[in-house]
């Protein structure tokens, strides 16, 4: 599966979705849509967050599964939180339901 591009290859600005298509009936919707914040993270970060949720948010469980120490996993989560904070723009702070 192709990775979703989130940054402009020319100027590195945040990309927006202009068109959405139904894979079943080919209905196409045109517009300007913000990408959800989580999609702007790297695939590794997204995978980490998904597994974190599947582990019921337990860092201990994550550490056990990854065979890493608890602080290493916690530090990784803190780094992702920092990246999320930087990624969020002011207009998205008003519409966090997209998350």
């Amino acid at each position: 599966m192709k990775l979703l591009p989130t940054a402009c290859p020319a100027c590195n600005s945040q990309l927006k979705a202009k068109s959405l298509i139904c894979a079943h009936c080919n209905t196409e919707i045109q517009g300007e849509y913000e990408l959800p914040v989580l999609t702007r993270l790297s695939p590794e970060d997204q995978s980490f967050i998904l597994e974190f949720i599947k582990s019921s948010g337990s860092l201990k469980e994550m550490a056990r599964l990854l065979r890493l120490s608890y602080p290493t996993v916690r530090n990784r989560l803190d780094e992702i939180i920092e990246r999320l904070k930087k990624t969020e723009s002011p207009e998205e702070n008003n519409g966090k339901e997209n998350l």
Binding site: P43, S47, L66, L68, S69, Y70, P71, T72, N75
Partner: protein
């Protein structure tokens, strides 16, 4: 769940150098504390056999015969005097939610190079060369004679001892960075301040213990 375990990009590389210079990526908490306490116990026992005193966070000296509890106490004092200020700075500087057990556990584990130091300091040749140096520097000490082999063992112990001390400090720093999630200049400055404070405090505490003997 296997997906994340197999996703190598999410995992730090498990190399020998990681285990040697930053084992805290893989081991922390109670596991590190138990290993660390075991390491302190072994170092103290070997130290007791060879009269090698760890009389300060970074100090290793050949010294007087003493009961085993004193060697154990030296190790515990060395560990606590560095772990306490690092935990304090961690609470002060880090934005992460720290666990005390991680800071104290990883600092205990970071002392493992001193097992090697206690072993290389074990031969009596080190004691003889130490006494010889005192004899040459002061006129008050008793006359001591040494041979080339004594000197060779002593030089080897000094080189290994210095190398192990540097290694231990590097491990202590990495343990601090991982357990408190502090990086850059803040980590370096707070670590150096803690190390200097711990050195002074541990020397004074151990000195007080010696006076009680």
């Amino acid at each position: 769940m296997n997906e994340i375990v197999n996703n190598t990009k999410t995992l730090p590389r498990r190399s020998i150098s990681q285990w040697l210079f930053n084992p805290f990526i893989f081991v922390a908490g109670y596991q590190a504390l138990l290993l660390g306490l075991g390491i302190m116990l072994i170092s103290a026992f070997i130290g007791f056999l060879g009269n090698t005193h760890f009389d300060g966070v970074l100090d290793v000296h050949k010294g007087l015969e003493a009961p085993l509890w004193l060697f154990l106490a030296e190790g515990i004092i060395d560990w606590l005097t560095i772990a306490m200020p690092l935990f304090f700075f961690g609470l002060l500087v880090s934005s992460s939610s720290l666990r005390m057990i991680d800071v104290f556990g990883t600092q205990a584990l970071a002392r493992w190079p001193y097992i090697v130091t206690s072993v290389v300091m074990l031969p009596e040749a080190n004691q003889r060369v130490g006494a010889y140096i005192i004899f040459r520097l002061t006129s008050t000490a008793a006359s001591v004679t040494i041979d080339y082999m004594d000197m060779l063992i002593f030089i080897f112990a000094i080189i290994v001892g210095i190398f192990m001390s540097v290694w231990m400090v590097a491990l202590m720093y990495r343990a601090y960075v991982v357990s408190c999630n502090i990086k850059g200049a803040r980590a370096i400055v707070t670590f150096i301040v803690s190390l200097i404070g711990a050195e002074v405090l541990s020397k004074l505490s151990i000195l007080l213990l010696f006076q009680r003997l």
